[in-house]
């Protein structure tokens, strides 16, 4: 058996106030690091300022970073200090002081973490309720931006997205083109398996479930090109289910619309009727009827 450990003297011989040192170092380090992180790292976090919702996410992420920086600092200071100061001399197996508890530290820690966490949850909820943060909210959204909105239905299927514009007589296109500075209401659904509509630069993500109308809001900013990508595993070609979308000026949007309508004129009679012609604004009949199911 290894050498029997010797008990440490009852009172630790060194009277340095280690705790105070760590706390001071932590406060100093956090005071320096937190603003630096907020200012220099904050604006780097995605998805960028492609939309109001995107900006909101960046803001949110910046806050989160600023809150977790002191937590990281605390552990960094603690371990750098602790592991340097408290390691055993080579080969010696010496018992440390038998400290089993200190309720003041416990209470401080519990209160500290609870306050942080509650703040984060409150902050996140507040941000979420502003305008939905670009996430899919289901058929009955709770965070609805005020004012009029351009409605677009996003229909996922293996393996592409189709966009339906009720405002353009139910035009359906495989391109997503949006006018600038406009509130857009996206209705995401699927014809087969679960997909997820992800417009990265716009900060929008909403799952496409069959038979579900998943609503997400986004307010576009200036003209730009953005990436659309399927973000839920949907089978073989999931990895290739992407294309680009565009945010354009209102006049460009109108000319794009007329061009598309011309392009698809020949198949228009076979499409679902538009709302103006007495049809539903959203295609709800995509579900294959049970009689058509295999088996």
């Amino acid at each position: 058996m290894a050498a029997e450990p010797t008990a440490a003297p009852a009172t630790p011989s060194d009277s340095t106030n280690h705790g105070l040192r760590v706390v001071v170092a932590w406060i100093v380090l956090s005071a320096i690091a937190t603003p630096l992180v907020a200012v220099f790292v904050g604006h780097l976090v995605p998805p960028g300022n492609g939309s109001t919702q995107g900006t909101e996410q960046v803001f949110d992420n910046t806050w989160m970073l600023s809150v977790v920086t002191p937590v990281i600092c605390l552990l960094a200071v603690f371990f750098v200090y602790g592991l340097r100061s408290f390691h055993a001399a080579d080969g010696a197996i010496l018992d440390g002081p038998p400290l089993r508890n200190d309720s003041r530290i416990q209470i401080l820690w519990i209160v500290g973490t609870s306050v942080t966490v509650l703040f984060l949850a409150g902050f996140g909820t507040y941000e979420l309720l502003q305008n939905g943060a670009g996430g899919g909210q289901g058929p009955d959204p709770i965070a609805v931006p005020a004012g009029s909105k351009l409605q677009v239905q996003v229909i996922g299927q293996q393996w592409q997205f189709t966009y339906r514009y009720p405002a353009l007589h139910g035009l359906e296109s495989n391109q997503l083109v949006l006018p600038e500075n406009t509130d857009v209401e996206l209705h995401v659904t699927s014809l087969d398996v679960i997909h997820s509509f992800w417009a990265y630069e716009l900060g929008v993500k909403a799952d496409a479930n069959p038979g579900v109308d998943n609503i997400a809001f986004v307010k576009t900013k200036g003209p730009e090109t953005f990436h659309v990508r399927c973000a839920e595993l949907c089978g073989l070609w999931h990895g290739y289910m992407y294309n680009n979308g565009r945010v354009v000026s209102p006049s460009q949007f109108r000319s794009w619309a007329t061009q598309q309508e011309k392009l698809y004129a020949s198949i228009a009679p076979f499409m679902n009727k538009s709302a103006a012609d007495g049809g539903a604004p959203y295609a709800r009949t995509y579900l294959p009827l049970p009689s058509e199911r295999a088996g």
């Binding site: 038979g211 579900l287 049970p290 088996g295």
Partner: protein, 227 residues
Amino acid sequence: MAEPLAHAGTGYEVVEQEPPELLGRNLISASHLLAGATAFFFVAFVFAYFYLRSLDNGGLWKPSGVDASIGWGTAVVACYVVSAALVRLGLADHRALRRSQWRQKGGIALLAGVAGLVLQVIAWTHESFGPADGGFASVYFGWTAFLFLFVFLTLVWLEMTVATSVRYRALETDAPPPGHASGDPYRAAHDIRDPLSLVRAELVGLSFYWTFLAGIAVVSWIVLYLI
């Protein structure tokens, strides 16, 4: 240290006997835990029922003509309940040392349970709808099928308990011949000495679990046939 806790290189012969009530405590806590696991298993079906019902996707929750026949359902669940109740009563008999009455009740309980299973199969073939006929049909067939499986395994357990007490019916407390269980005289020491003490322990665990499962059957009856 005064005395080492163990010596290497000794055989298992040195093992002192475990407290006799240990097996019982183990079986009882196992039956409680099994009941917990079973509950969470069937909660999934309860959830499926109410969730799909509230969604009513495509209007296909319960198309007309899809209705489980309450007659068969009641018969099945009644068999389960009777069987579980008999096991409870049998346990009381066993506690009161009325061993032969317990054996009778146990046997009838087994028959009642098996009757329930048979009735269930008949019920399936007599339903007017098939598993593909919408949400309710799915939940109905899924729930009853898995309940069938659980009941079947519980009845196997019941059969074991009954079989042990029948085999040793002549022997009130005496130990069976050494090596009787394992068939290996070298391991005689590890046989349960008094098989009837095992019956009591198993009965307590079993009757708890079987009552619980019958309770789930009743819940399934309420959910699938009444509401």
